[in-house]
Subunit: 466 residues, 2 copies
């Protein structure tokens, strides 16, 4: 009666948790997971991304074959089966630095959905160096054991490419344009990733190219050690058991960021623990005291080279390129912290010009440079936007609703770990520190807009008088 | 660089997915998971549930010790460690029948959160029969390997109890009353579970008893086999490989519900497959044809003895007991199907009387008799309520908002598998079939309310004339 449940069985039944709720959304989610992987991989090796995306009609009605190819570093042959055929397997989960992927689920989930709806295997071709052979492999997921089921593999020549990865699969989907479409995802991805070039072939055979706007790569991010304020008692208990440090003070300095000798001594003193004691021998009670001592000790904020915001200048440039308006303003807040994880909020507004006036303002949400196209209602960005008092800036707004006016609002959260409300990574969870930072960023944009509108109103009134 | 990620590591980092976003919500979620388990367990053995819930102050500020005890069947000694110390382990995931639990995560997640915030083990006491000894065990979760870490165990006497389970743990929490509190959860649980008696001791030492309203147990549910319409190609491919049936026609009859010999022959005929062929030998192409043949074959709806709605009479009685109003109406729709899974929507309205008039109507949401207290914005029940045109029934409603008036709306979804929007089981995903059924149920309530309000208005007008 009692049974172990494999994670891929769990997600096969719960595919809406991964963003495969219906055929229209499934097509977008599968492409998004692959393109995000390609962008992450190219950035890791410092190469401006060249990404090719194709959607072709599949073997039957409502089926499409999708292909994504990149010029990234490629994947080691030995790792390919688990990368594509095993949920909760990847290189990004255990590190503390900003990347688009963070769960180790994305591309395997897309393959799982493809297998469920067409029964067909995922096809992978990858090459890790110019003089190397490429490795080609077809595989499916064995859901009962959450492991890859290899159907075929061989080394092949991949002439015209020095390194890179190509992934193809056939799945059930519905192709359409509009707000929640693949087209819209790629357009918005181009806005926040000006260093990428994306070539896109639609099922009707049309080819669109999103040109690279700059060859300047985003500043590479460095992984940081956990910050003491973010470490819970249960985790601290585990860390003291597993540490290689011989003394307690040394444990604090080597395992955490922002802890030098002075802070380490202070924590031990406040917890009445001996800084020279062996971490492996500490009692649960002493670790509990150390945990509370950390909360009371003044420790500087975590380093911020682990996150890479877009920057208000580049965000402004992208906004001006995509939207024709009378007024623009962008802001990048200085980094903040929730649960010990560094994050940074950026926001921008475009008002007037070609935008229509009587509708609610349009909200574009981004997390780690990835557009969030679904679950707007349950997202912290939306809630913080609605809770901002836009009437103060001369805009209409009824209770519990978006402001109304010819306006586009853009909010971007950059973080070492974005707290999504589900594995489909479509909405940000409402941690109070995050809500506060979004509101502060929007208020700054709102104030600037208010000044502009007052000035414009004054000029209009004066013009009328003459 | 590439690593396997254990499911409990994943949820330790993503605890908001499980409903442990903040200390206030965490206290509620932990209690909810344990009480839901107790209700399920008691119903399984056909015993009216007697559940005791206690919240006591813990070892430090912001810490509470919570205890839940039931008179259920108890848990076999050998299974206790995995039940409480392993995520994705349980008895309910693989069956197709209505229960509160369905993921195999709940109580282990509560234990994980307790360990993370206080470092303390979960304490379990369970007894499976009157003349048996009770088994007592303390354990924590080893998150790296997702397995139980037993700290202590022994057989003990548990005198005054013939059978049952008691679970206790200490965790970080915030106790408060109001909309999203433990009190409110227990009050609403008492409404939809009139066969249960719940004794509740608050941290202030006050004891409340939610009396049993009926000794009549809900109709027991029977597990059904999957319905052919709900089986995807990938699953069908797996089923034909693993079946014990020797012939294809026999495979359809033995593995699915609602398939007799006639329907099985029809499916094979339409797919041009030999009904006597060996299922293990079928090609992927033939299985693809069979999949499409199933969609084209007329097959009756799944059996409904796998779901157990509350019933409009009992729902009406509970509503009348809890809310003082002028008008009541409840409705239980006949069962429907989404992705092959049977479900049934029930709704009720209470209007006027002691209810206040100028606020948006209050919405009470339930899934498999469990109240849903969070994530109202992202829930199918809320969306369907907002999309219902309440103006037709003489109520105020602005675009995209709840109706306004002295009204309480109750919606209950009973299903063999409720599609939640995350593992915290707080909101229902918006499958089109589910949205449609909720709207139809609300429209029936709305029509009855409209008739009542028109009549009342007429009577008021006539009274004024005299
Ligand atoms: N195109 C690619 N080039 C190089 N490496 C890749 C590529 N696609 C995936 N990978 C590797 O495979 C791993 C697994 O990918 P997957 O999308 O399943 O998870 P993830 O990106 O780590 O996290 P998420 O689930 O959030 O997407 C990644 O961590 C990365 O190391
Ligand atoms: N009080 C109890 N009495 C008897 N059995 C129990 C009790 N609590 C839990 N169980 C058993 O332990 C299993 C695991 O419980 P857990 O809450 O983790 O998962 P679940 O109830 O199956 O699903 P969910 O994650 O949706 O709650 C259950 O399936 C049930 O068989
Ligand atoms: Mg990924
Ligand atoms: Mg449970």
């Amino acid at each position: 009666k009692q049974k172990q449940i494999s994670i891929s069985e769990f997600f096969a039944k719960n595919r809406h948790l991964l963003g495969f709720d219906n055929p229209r959304k499934a097509l977008l989610t599968a492409i998004k997971e692959m393109v995000d992987n390609s962008l992450d991989a190219c950035e890791d090796m410092g190469t401006p991304p060249d990404i090719f995306v194709a959607i072709e009609p599949g073997g039957r009605e409502n089926r499409f074959r999708i292909t994504v190819r990149d010029n990234g570093p490629g994947i080691l042959k030995a790792q390919v089966p688990s990368v594509f055929g095993k949920l909760l397997y990847g290189s990004k989960f255990h590190g503390y630095r900003q990347q688009r992927g963070q769960q180790g689920i994305g591309v395997s989930a897309a393959g799982l959905y493809a297998m469920l709806t067409t029964g067909k295997a995922v096809e992978i071709k990858t090459k890790t160096g110019p003089r190397r052979k490429a490795y080609s492999c077809q595989l499916r997921i064995d859901t009962q054991h959450n492991r890859p089921d290899r159907l075929g593999e061989k080394d092949i020549e991949w002439e015209d490419v020095p390194h890179g990865t190509e992934v193809a699969m056939e799945l059930e989907g519905t192709y359409s344009r509009g707000r929640h479409s693949v087209d819209s995802y790629l357009e918005q991805t181009a806005i926040t990733n000006p260093h990428a070039q994306i070539t896109y072939r639609t099922p009707d055979g049309e080819e669109r190219v999103f040109e690279r706007a700059t060859t300047e790569m985003p500043r590479p991010t460095q992984a940081i050690k956990p910050h003491p304020y973010g470490v819970e008692l249960g985790v601290l208990l585990k860390m003291v058991k597993e540490t290689k440090a011989k003394q307690l003070a040394e444990f604090f300095q080597s395992e955490f960021s922002r802890v030098g000798n002075k802070v380490a001594q202070e924590i031990c003193l406040s917890a009445k623990a001996d800084p020279k004691s062996n971490p492996h021998r500490l009692s649960r009670g002493t670790v509990d005291e150390l945990y509370h001592a950390i909360q009371k000790t003044k420790i500087s904020a975590p380093p911020t080279d682990c996150i890479s915001p877009i920057g208000d200048t580049l965000l402004l440039k992208s906004l001006q390129k995509e939207v024709e308006a009378d007024f623009y303003h962008t802001v990048t807040r200085s980094p903040a912290v929730y649960r010990g994880m560094p994050f940074c909020i950026e926001a921008g507004i475009a008002y007037g010009g070609g935008l229509t006036g009587d509708d609610p303002a349009r909200l574009l949400r981004f997390a780690n440079r990835v557009p969030l196209l679904y679950q707007q209602a349950g997202c912290a960005v939306t809630k913080a936007t609605i809770e901002t008092a836009w009437r103060n800036y001369r805009l209409q707004q009824s209770r519990g609703a978006m402001p109304v006016g010819p306006m586009i609002i853009v909010v971007h959260m950059a973080s070492v770990w974005v707290p999504f409300t589900s594995e489909s990574k479509e909405a940000v969870a409402s941690y109070p520190e995050i809500m506060k930072e979004i509101k502060l960023a929007l208020q700054e944009c709102g104030r600037k807009l208010g000044t502009f509108l007052r000035k414009r109103r004054r000029e209009e009134d004066e013009a009328k008088k003459r």
